[in-house]
């Protein structure tokens, strides 16, 4: 057998196999079991411990590029917060994230009989990332003089019941970048307000030191984190639907790595000088 050929399989063959490994389980789910990780359970328990009427800052800091990973996490958490009757203040640190704040409100607000202005408020985008987060800590009301729709926050009942960041029970950020770390530095560390959140798969290694030290109260990681949370709140959505496809595609990647290395090692043993 020409082992070297294992290293020379056309990349487009792998693309076709990858699409099939993703498409088939999406169309016909395999029902592979899904376990709940400790970090996701910690996020769930933190929200479960909130008293009705607690103020929670929800910060979707993502854009359409990471929609597939972040939206399921964001949606599941907002649904859980509404079940707990928390008062939600959605803030946006990314240009495009206001539309996700609005989408979450429009999807779940009517379902849980929430009133805009009393139970929920959406703040406009503010440029500056950690500068904005620091300003939230210093004077939340001065930073957001108007909501996303241009109404003065002085006339919004939800904001009349809050004096500043010290009245906030929890901050939840959804980040594909570094905003969750910024919240830990500017809010958790300075004002000792609990902070948690969800991140893309790429950002999990960045956040793990903060989770293990207890600074970040648990973590949802990637689509998998969203799927686990959907399972915990018993509200299956897009993330659970994608888990079988994710598992099968990972099997394909492992097979590709194994075949490539078998080809390399075998051709080297034969003196073929595999590359």
């Amino acid at each position: 057998m020409n082992w070297n050929s294992l290293q020379k399989i056309d990349i487009r063959v792998w693309y076709v196999l990858l699409v099939l490994s993703l498409f088939i389980p999406l169309l016909k789910p395999l029902g592979l079991p899904l376990s709940i990780s400790k970090d996701v359970k910690t996020v769930y328990d933190t929200i479960e411990a909130l008293k009705p009427g607690s103020y929670v800052i929800v910060s979707p800091s993502y854009s359409p590029g990471t929609d597939a990973e972040m939206w399921p996490q964001h949606a599941a958490i907002v649904e859980h917060l509404m079940r707990k009757k928390a008062k939600i203040i959605q803030v946006s640190l990314d240009l495009s994230s206001v539309m996700y704040a609005e989408r979450a409100w429009k999807t779940y607000g009517p379902k849980f009989d929430q009133k805009y202005g009393e139970d929920h408020i959406i703040m406009p985008y503010k440029a500056g990332l950690d500068v904005v987060i620091a300003a939230m800590g210093r004077d939340l009301k001065a930073l957001y003089a108007e909501d996303y729709y241009g109404t003065s926050t002085k006339n919004i009942p939800l904001m009349q019941g809050i004096s500043g960041i010290k009245d906030v029970a929890l901050v939840i950020d959804f980040m594909p970048g570094n905003t969750l770390v910024d919240y830990l530095r500017q809010i958790e560390s300075v004002y000792h307000i609990p902070v948690t959140g969800g991140v893309t798969g790429v950002c999990i290694p960045t956040m793990m030191p903060y989770v293990q030290s207890g600074q970040c109260r648990g973590l949802l990681g990637g689509m998998r984190g969203g799927a686990e949370y959907e399972l915990l709140i018993n509200s299956p959505g897009a993330a659970i639907g994608g888990m079988d496809a994710q598992s099968l595609s990972h099997v394909l990647v492992i097979v590709a790595i194994a075949l490539g290395n078998i080809g390399y090692l075998a051709s080297r043993q034969k003196g073929g000088g595999g590359k």
Partner: protein, 202 residues
């Protein structure tokens, strides 16, 4: 099939983008240029709105005269695009201001959150095998970063080698997470194509 024109546009552009997997082609180029153009346009509009809402409007309607300061600093930034050397030098003022502000803000929380409490969390009692592995990984990785001659001889040479392997395991885990993230993005697109466009998936 979906009847929404927005869904159709998004679906067709998604397919155009994926045609690159076969080879570079005009459909991919069209989608790529459209994406870059729309992204730039959105950034310009949002930037303009930020200036108007956060500085210009308070200045002219509320008499917040101090908004002249950020506006002037912002204008000075463009000095580096002129041929005048003195104007280019002036652009350093807002840059120095931004760097100083960012450093001051970061240091405030970073020292505690990213240094002190991380060091404290590392000093855990050695109760389980995981604690021992953790300690070994931290010590050997730090020993890898002794760059003096002293750091590359004797026992430190061996611990640095172990530290190198520990880092490679960490990089492997990070890459695994990246693969997972990229697969999720493809799944998201497939769920859109077959769930919202062709409507053959729940």
């Amino acid at each position: 099939m979906s009847t929404s024109s927005g869904v159709w546009v998004a679906a067709i552009l998604t397919i155009f983008a994926y045609t690159y997997l076969y080879k570079d082609n005009p459909f991919f180029k069209f989608a790529e240029h459209l994406f870059v153009g729309i992204g730039a346009a959105q950034a310009i509009v949002m930037g303009y709105q930020n200036i108007v809402e956060q500085a210009w409007r308070p200045l002219v309607t509320k008499g917040s005269w101090w908004m002249i300061i950020p506006l002037a600093l912002g204008l000075l930034l463009y000095g580096r695009f002129t041929k005048s050397r003195s104007a280019a030098l002036l652009s350093r003022l807002p840059i120095a201001f931004l760097v100083g502000l960012a450093a001051a803000l970061s240091i405030r929380g970073a020292l505690d959150a990213s240094l002190v409490r991380q060091v404290v969390a590392t000093m855990t009692p050695m109760k389980t095998i995981t604690d021992w592995i953790f300690m070994l990984a931290v010590v050997t990785t730090i020993s890898y970063f002794f760059f003096t001659a002293f750091g590359r001889v004797g026992i430190l040479k061996n611990t640095a080698e172990v530290g190198r392997w520990v880092m490679m395991v960490a990089f492997g885990a990070a890459f695994g997470n990246t693969v997972m993230a990229r697969m999720s993005l493809v799944i998201g697109r497939l769920q859109f194509l077959f769930g919202k466009w062709i409507l053959i998936m729940k």
